[in-house]
């Protein structure tokens, strides 16, 4: 039976082509229909397994096990009924819908390993497909915003609100834009609009720092980056500007870390220091809101800068009820059961770090972070493997995933429709699915063994004798 299936391997390129089609559909975010993507992911994985069955090795699967396990834990906790009610923060998902979270995310992640078994899969083609779909969507969104609002409307009509159903919009016009959702254009928050142009901009690392050697690739991605820049400039926003700078910083840091080895350790130290400061800030945040030490709370309130950071900005006001609920009101309950959150009404923070907690518990949220950590760690081996893929493609993958994680940790709005109740948590986002695929691909490629030195010498000797 296996021998018969092994014969199918010669048709594996057709499945790889199908995979590219599916990735294009995901990157185009056609309607954000995660059930469709979940079903396609599952089908793709099954086909890849079928057509590459002889090539699948236990070693290969074990390389991504450390990534798949926390992902499995997270998706299982999301899907289980005990957490589903917490989703009704904005929409009441039921178990039939949530079951596609593990059924969709795990297969697409596993597919990142499976595609490496077929030599016809080229990372170059994958990147072209993803960025082309993003570019197409961005172009469509640019045109529809020009048609409906005109260029620079975020500046010209700052402070204006759009009337809908007799009420002015909850956000001013400079914080909203039109995007294509399925077959119609809907008004969404600006944070949703800027994602696509910013993702296009992530390819700038392979234009400015570690350029593509292939001229065609260079100019193609130059076009994509410029389209992203146009999409940001025509409708200027604070979010777009800040994250464009962040992307350039990511590019510079990646370049620095790769090119100047001496900077790697200091950069890692700086990263851990920043994370430490963040943890300290979180601790201070909790203390302040609980007024455990009223002297501490008074100190913060009396200092204008600290007061702005911890008390009076809209992000602090979003985070505090959730943090309070996790750490104080329902400390025990929040780890293993979400029942703590059933009656809690609070505003979503827009950060997956916090918003995953009510939907999968603290354990699930931690598993999610562990998964990301394992994913990024995979880049270390991948970048050092000179024979696997060109460096430019590697750094584009790293820039894409880095940006997406940073953006999702701060501004990933689950409810991003202005007038329509469009709900899409991060685990139902097609871009997140693409990122999972990238991670497992990177981890697999990074672990692929290079020939041992003795074997390499013998090969060279054979070549010379020949």
């Amino acid at each position: 039976m296996l021998d018969k299936l092994a014969k199918l391997h010669k048709f594996a390129p057709a499945i790889t082509f199908l995979a590219m089609e599916i990735f294009a559909l995901m990157a185009f975010s056609f309607g954000d229909s995660y059930i469709l993507y979940g079903a396609l992911s599952l089908a793709l994985m099954l086909l890849l397994v079928l057509f590459n069955i002889r090539q699948i090795k236990v070693d290969g699967i074990s390389t991504i096990a450390f990534f798949l396990f926390p992902l499995f834990l997270f998706t299982l906790l999301v899907a289980l009924g005990i957490y589903s009610k917490a989703h009704l923060i904005v929409k009441d998902f039921n178990i039939a819908e949530l079951i596609f979270v593990p059924l969709g995310l795990l297969p697409i992640a596993f597919s990142g390993y499976l595609v490496t078994l077929d030599k016809s899969f080229k990372i170059q083609t994958f990147l072209i497909v993803i960025y082309s779909a993003l570019a197409a969507l961005t172009l469509v969104n640019i045109i529809v915003n020009l048609v409906n609002f005109g260029a620079f409307y975020t500046v010209l009509y700052k402070g204006y609100h759009m009337y809908y159903r007799g009420e002015p919009s909850s956000v001013p016009i400079e914080e909203m834009a039109y995007t294509l959702q399925g077959l119609k254009f809907v008004e969404v928050k600006m944070s949703q609009y800027v994602v696509n142009p910013l993702l296009l901009l992530t390819s700038s690392i392979a234009l400015l720092f570690i350029p593509f050697k292939n001229k065609k690739m260079f100019f193609l991605f130059l076009g994509y980056s410029l389209l992203g820049v146009i999409g940001l400039i025509l409708f200027p926003s604070m979010i777009g500007g800040i994250f464009a700078i962040i992307i350039l910083l990511i590019d510079a840091l990646i370049y620095l870390a790769y090119k100047v080895k001496a900077t790697r350790k200091p950069l890692i130290i700086i990263l851990f220091v920043l994370l430490g400061l963040l943890a300290l800030a979180l601790f201070a945040f909790i203390l302040n809101y609980q007024s455990i030490s009223s002297g501490f709370a008074n100190f913060i309130e009396n200092n204008s800068l600290l007061n702005r950071i911890f008390n009076t900005n809209r992000y602090a006001q979003k985070y505090s009820p959730l943090i309070t609920n996790i750490f104080f009101d329902n400390f025990l309950g929040s780890w293993g059961s979400h029942s703590a959150f059933q009656d809690v009404l609070y505003q979503l923070t827009g950060s997956f770090i916090f918003d995953n907690v009510p939907t999968s518990g603290v354990i699930g949220a931690l598993a999610f972070i562990v998964m990301l950590f394992v994913g990024f760690k995979g880049f270390k081996s991948y970048l050092s493997k000179e024979k696997e893929d060109s460096l430019s493609y590697k750094v584009v993958l790293l820039a894409f995933t880095s940006f997406f994680v940073i953006f999702s940790a701060t501004l990933f709005e689950r409810e991003y429709g202005v007038f329509n109740n469009i709900v899409r948590p991060i685990y139902m986002s097609p871009l997140f699915m693409i990122m999972l695929f990238m991670f497992t691909y990177v981890i697999t490629k990074g672990k692929m063994s290079e020939p041992k030195k003795e074997e390499q010498k013998e090969e060279n000797k054979d070549e010379q004798e020949a």
Binding site: L146, Y157, Y163, Y164
Partner: protein
């Protein structure tokens, strides 16, 4: 020209052309305009350029001699059997004119235009299509306040055959002005003391496209007499007027069916207001701009929009 250059130039051209739209800019409003606690800041007198032009030369004007007006929802069943619990009932049946809907509020909730298409949900005018026919403490949020200048609404869809349409509104004066109570030598100190009646000609215009796609204006004028003019939200102070274009109850053909309606406008003139007249006598000048109509709902039932 070089092929690549041609393709490159296409993008900015598309961008420039696309930028000439601004279709959604009609629906945006600066700040708290139309929601202010200042009465004078809430007047909606926006006119679409096409409709304004058409309004200057109406094709036809209809008044009460030409078509039928219904001033109570209870009587509307004469033209719309769908309003009845038993549309097939005969005149001798006891439930012949038993209405499905208790009042304008229920009627509005069923026949609201925004349930037909999302195009009725945009702009300040969306307040007229949301099915909310009474104030109920929601004030500026649920009504369009207009003065003698009136306003127009240009719709992005066209209707099919249009047999009747209605409007639910209230008349009021600015309760922030200092003036005499009607028939009194004393100044009014509270809202209720400003109660009086007024008379005016209400003009509702319907704009339809003709075979040449030009917009034609049809005026429908209803003389409104001694309407309660007050800020008070009691249901008796509201006015329902329905303009019936179909055959009259006695069988007389009205001979009018409008098609391809793309908008409407509301205006009033020939105002005779007790409060203004009385205060004028007393030497207190009240501007006619301190008089307003609060339009709560516009009904255009039983037609398709495409």
């Amino acid at each position: 020209m070089n092929k690549k250059l041609r393709y490159l130039l296409l993008l900015p051209i598309v961008g420039v052309l696309a930028s000439c739209g601004g279709f959604s800019l009609d629906y945006i409003v600066d700040g708290d305009r139309y929601l202010s606690s200042d009465f004078n800041n809430n007047y909606y007198t926006s006119w679409n350029a096409e409709l304004a032009e058409s309004n200057k030369n109406p094709i036809k004007t209809f008044n009460e001699d030409d078509i039928y007006f219904i001033e109570k929802l209870d009587d509307a069943y004469l033209f719309d059997r769908n309003l009845l619990t038993n549309p097939d009932a005969k005149p001798e049946d006891p439930d012949y004119h038993k209405l499905k809907y208790l009042d304008v509020e229920e009627y509005g909730e069923v026949y609201k235009l925004n349930s037909l298409s999302d195009c009725f949900n945009y702009g300040v005018q969306s307040k007229l299509f949301d099915g909310i026919s009474y104030c109920r403490g929601r004030y500026q949020r649920v009504r369009v306040q207009t003065n003698r200048k009136g306003f127009s609404v240009r719709l992005s869809k066209e209707s099919d055959a249009l047999d009747y349409f209605g409007i639910h509104f209230k008349a009021t004066t600015n309760n922030q002005i200092k003036c005499y109570k009607v028939g009194s030598e004393e100044y009014a100190t509270k809202d209720t003391e400003l109660f009086h009646t007024s008379t005016f000609d209400l003009t509702v215009s319907i704009y339809c496209k003709n075979d040449n796609n030009e917009i034609a204006c049809y005026n429908f004028i209803k003389h409104i007499e001694f309407i309660n003019t007050t800020n008070n939200g009691s249901e008796s102070n509201y006015k329902f007027v329905s303009f019936q274009l179909k055959d009259l109850p006695d069988g007389t053909p009205a001979g009018l069916t409008l098609r391809r309606c793309v908008g409407f406008s509301v205006q009033f003139n020939n105002l005779e207001d007790e409060l203004i007249s009385w205060n004028k006598e007393k030497g207190v000048s009240i501007s006619e701009d301190d008089y307003a109509l609060f339009i709560y709902e516009v009904f255009i039932p039983n037609t398709y929009w495409h």
